[in-house]
């Protein structure tokens, strides 16, 4: 699928995955996986627990090294792109420091990402945590903590979002918020790779589902 609209993400580009294979502890999680994401695309990764969704996401984000396979961003090896921070990843950890307030946590990340002033306030407001900005994060509920993590996504211009069950700890309002954010991201030309237990829904103009399955044959 090609999109001709211009992305507001400076570094948005095509992600291509070729021949990705990873085995862990003698078990093959995925073999010779091939797919591509264009700017604005969404791919949901679905499958049973433990099938390798998280591992696949981490490979695409650059956190785990696959056994074989090639990832490219805009035709070039993705490693350089990873180093310039094209990927925003949200896994099972929210990565907040308990003894810092919500705002202080985000200010730290703003320093790391070299963001502009005022981004933190805007992000807090967007996720509905402005009132709790001075609260220590260990007092936040799981849903609020996840919102704060998602606020972090807004502090930078990462064109590729890799999210592992982002809505897991959320209530309905939270889920609606996430959906808004994801739609806005793809509308701006960002690419989206998600894993979820829930039924995938359409986001943006191109949404696909990649289902990981165990094959029945036993190897000798």
């Amino acid at each position: 699928m090609t999109h001709s609209h211009k992305s507001i993400y400076e570094q948005a580009d095509h992600l291509e995955i070729n021949g990705l294979s990873l085995a862990y502890d003698g078990k093959s999680l995925f073999e010779d996986l091939n797919f591509a994401l264009a700017p604005g695309d969404t791919v949901w990764i679905c499958g049973a627990n433990g099938i390798g969704k998280t591992t696949l996401l981490k490979c695409v984000a650059g956190l785990i090294r696959p056994d074989a396979g090639m990832l490219t961003w805009g035709g070039d090896n993705i490693k350089a792109a990873w180093r310039s921070g094209i990927t925003a990843y949200q896994g099972h950890h929210d990565a907040h420091k308990k003894d810092l307030s919500a705002a202080e946590n985000l200010e730290f990340w703003q320093d790391i990402y070299a963001g502009e002033e005022g981004c933190v306030d805007a992000a807090l407001t967007r996720v509905g945590l402005w009132a709790r900005r001075h609260q220590r994060t260990h007092t936040l509920s799981a849903g609020q903590s996840r919102r704060l993590a998602l606020a972090r996504l807004m502090l930078r211009d990462a064109p590729l979002w890799v999210l592992d069950e982002p809505a897991a700890p959320m209530d309905e309002v939270g889920r609606a918020l996430i959906h808004d954010m994801l739609r806005a991201h793809t509308a701006r030309g960002g690419s989206l790779l998600l894993a979820s237990h829930r039924a995938p829904s359409k986001i943006g103009s191109s949404t696909r589902i990649l289902t990981l399955q165990e094959s029945r044959d036993a190897r000798t």
């Binding site: 003698g26 073999e31 589902i209 165990e214 094959s215 044959d217």
Partner: protein, 243 residues
């Protein structure tokens, strides 16, 4: 040659003739060396027959240090080129290397008892060798304690590399410290030229023995990995569809 041996199959072919060659060479060299050491070399003026323990001690010391260097070199190759067998090679050299280090310490202690009257002295050589033993044990423990062996390989490799860079630093520091506190007279046994032959024979013999041990340990490791891999039960597949 390094890339040739990367393939486990090729390594096994190499080992099929290399292992017996090293093994026989080891046996031969050590046998001749020991004969020379026991019957054909002069007694040390000061310490008489006890000096013969040095024929075991000095080559062992050499191998224990070289083995660590070899381990570090293999770790570097594994780290930079992600060469799969290099990790196995490094790990296989650890226990033999540590064993030679213990041999060095033990024979050194026996020599010390006959020469100075005490089993242990904190002189330059003994202290350096003890530190080397700590380095070996630390390396082996890292392999043991980290469950994910891919991770263990990289971390152990880093430890071997950092340790090997520090080896000359440690040696230099300990010798300097020793010269300040113990004086240089305590350590060195006298060497005569006719002592040279058995020493070189035994050094070579130990080296061959070490190579033989290492090759066989690598073979063992390859076998075990192959067996684990044949237990792969599950394949995987993926299906892509549009919403």
């Amino acid at each position: 040659m390094i890339s040739l041996l990367a393939n486990p199959l090729r390594f096994k072919k190499f080992a099929r003739y290399a292992s017996p060659i090293f093994g026989c060479a080891a046996l031969g060299l050590i046998a001749v060396g020991v004969w020379y050491a026991l019957y054909n070399s002069p007694e040390d003026k000061l310490h008489e027959n006890a000096v013969r323990i040095l024929y075991i001690h000095v080559p062992a010391a050499l191998i224990s240090m070289s083995a660590y260097g070899a381990m570090a070199a293999a770790s570097l190759i594994a780290f930079v080129w992600r060469h799969p067998l290099a990790d196995v090679l490094a790990r296989s050299m650890a226990l033999p290397g540590a064993a030679f280090t213990v041999l060095t310490l033990a024979t050194g202690a026996i020599w010390g008892k006959t020469a100075w009257g005490t089993f242990w002295q904190w002189d330059g050589r003994m202290t350096s060798t003890l530190i080397l033993l700590f380095l070996y044990i630390g390396y082996m423990q890292v392999w043991a304690i980290i469950e994910d062996k891919r991770r263990a390989a990289r971390i152990a490799g880093l430890i071997a590399m950092v340790g090997s860079i520090n080896l000359p630093v440690i040696k230099f520091s300990v010798d300097w410290w020793n010269s300040l506190h113990q004086g240089a007279t305590l350590g060195g046994p006298g060497f005569e030229t006719s002592m040279g032959m058995p020493l070189y024979l035994l050094m070579l013999g130990y080296g061959c023995f070490f190579a033989w041990l290492t090759i066989n340990r690598v073979l063992d490791s390859i076998e075990r990995t192959k067996q684990k891999r044949t237990k792969t039960q599950r394949g995987a597949s993926a299906v892509m569809e549009d919403i």
